[in-house]
Amino acid sequence: MGEFARFGFNDLLYLVRGAYTTIQLCGIAFLFGGLLGIIVGIARSNHKITAFRWIAGVYIEIFRGVPLLLQLIIGYFAPSVLGWDISVFLAVSIVLCLYTGAYLGEIFRSGLESIHKEQWEAASSLGMKYFQSLRYVIIPQGVRVIIPSIIGFLVALVKAICLVSILNVVDLTLAAQRVAVRAYVPLLAMGSAALIYFVICYPLSKIGQRLEAQSKRSEA
């Protein structure tokens, strides 16, 4: 096992920095994509204003239907073609936000629609307005339904972000690749990266399970 001898502290640091980039991208995508998703999900489940529903539907289908890698490549080239001067990191972040917004939008829509029409009516009959009904009656119930799907998506997102390595954004996967080549420690570098991915994703799943169990208990 000569790999251990060749694997230095700097290499480890490089991996951790890559992991940080992965987490950063994931956080940005989840935060802004989440906000976008809320708007899209509400628009999508709004049966009164057809235009909103339609626009949200087209957006969701495009970003869920095109491979993420392709979206990232387009996002990489589009700014320079259009003459915008933005960094690759920013371009990639925007694509990830849009991608996340589409998926979370669809999840939020399913959550909102899982709540029976009668709950809306009960809220309306008490004089609540549309956004009051959403905020106090529909969303608190819908959230419980969708927690598992959200966590599932997040875990998938953490792993999907490795695609940015194609565009030379040094995420965990690209960092591992570079360390592997530079120090010739392929197994150790990739193994460590795999371990770090696991360390990120496992707690997420656990939190998801905990939240799901909690919401079941408070319903019982």
Partner: protein, 246 residues
């Protein structure tokens, strides 16, 4: 004073003509019972009265507010109106994520903008009125059907409505639980509340209603004092209906 004035109301769902020219008045303080076969449009009328469902033709005036065909169901004045109209549903429609207390106090806080402490005071008082003081921190699924329906009534009373609409509020309940709900209802009726009640409970109708409207096929084909309608109805349809019930 006339609380509800319904004039020649029509309502269709696609090709299904559900309300075919309904006219009726309800005076302040009156309890009017609506009876009639399944599918005759009873629930639809009730839903039109607080405009959960838009009407196609005719007009409805509720507590001074004129409702006309094809209005948006989300108009600001409708929120204001619904604040004054209570609605109790067949399947209770409590908010499952909230305790009995929060179910009752939520709209007080966010619709009536009453401070949290005072809202809870009112909620507790209303739950007490329906005999559920000891259940204030229970969630709906920890309560029996009869208890849930009483929470729903408390939720409605807490808003101090001018009018209460009740759609078969005992028909999802086991027979032994019906009584407790009807008792509460009779008390509310005696207190002078204006109510429109859809029910199949003949005894309740006789004791508590001022009037019965008999629905058939989207029309009111008989209307009058409970005894008169139930025991000596004029039309064959009503006779058949009440015979089947007794």
């Amino acid at each position: 004073m006339i609380m509800v004035e319904i004039k020649e109301v029509h309502k269709s769902f696609r090709d299904l003509h559900v309300l075919r020219g309904i006219s009726m008045d309800v005076r302040e303080g009156e309890s009017v019972v609506i009876m009639g076969p399944s599918g005759s449009g009873k629930s639809t009328l009730l839903r039109c009265i607080n405009y959960l469902e838009p009407i196609d033709a005719g007009s409805i005036r509720v507590d001074g507010e004129l409702l006309t065909p094809k209005m948006s169901t989300r108009l600001a004045k409708l929120h204001k109106l619904r604040e004054r109209i209570g609605f109790v549903f067949q399947r209770f429609n409590l908010f499952p994520h909230l305790t009995a207390l929060d179910n009752v106090s939520l709209a007080l806080k966010i619709v009536k903008k009453i401070g949290p402490e005072q809202a809870e005071e009112i909620a507790i008082r209303c739950l007490e009125q329906v005999g559920l003081k000891d259940k204030i921190s229970s969630y709906p699924d920890q309560l029996s059907g009869g208890q849930q329906q009483r929470v729903a009534i408390a939720r409605c009373l807490a808003m101090e409505p001018r009018l209460i609409l009740l759609d078969e509020i005992t028909s999802a309940l086991d027979p032994e639980l019906i009584k407790e709900v009807l008792e509460v209802l009779a008390r509310v009726s005696r207190s002078g509340m204006t109510m429109i009640i859809i029910t199949h409970e003949l005894k309740f109708a006789k004791e508590s209603a001022d009037r019965i409207c008999f629905f058939y096929n989207g029309k009111i084909i008989e209307e009058g004092a409970p005894e008169q309608i139930i025991e000596s109805s004029q039309t064959a349809e009503a006779k058949r209906f009440f015979q089947a019930l007794t």
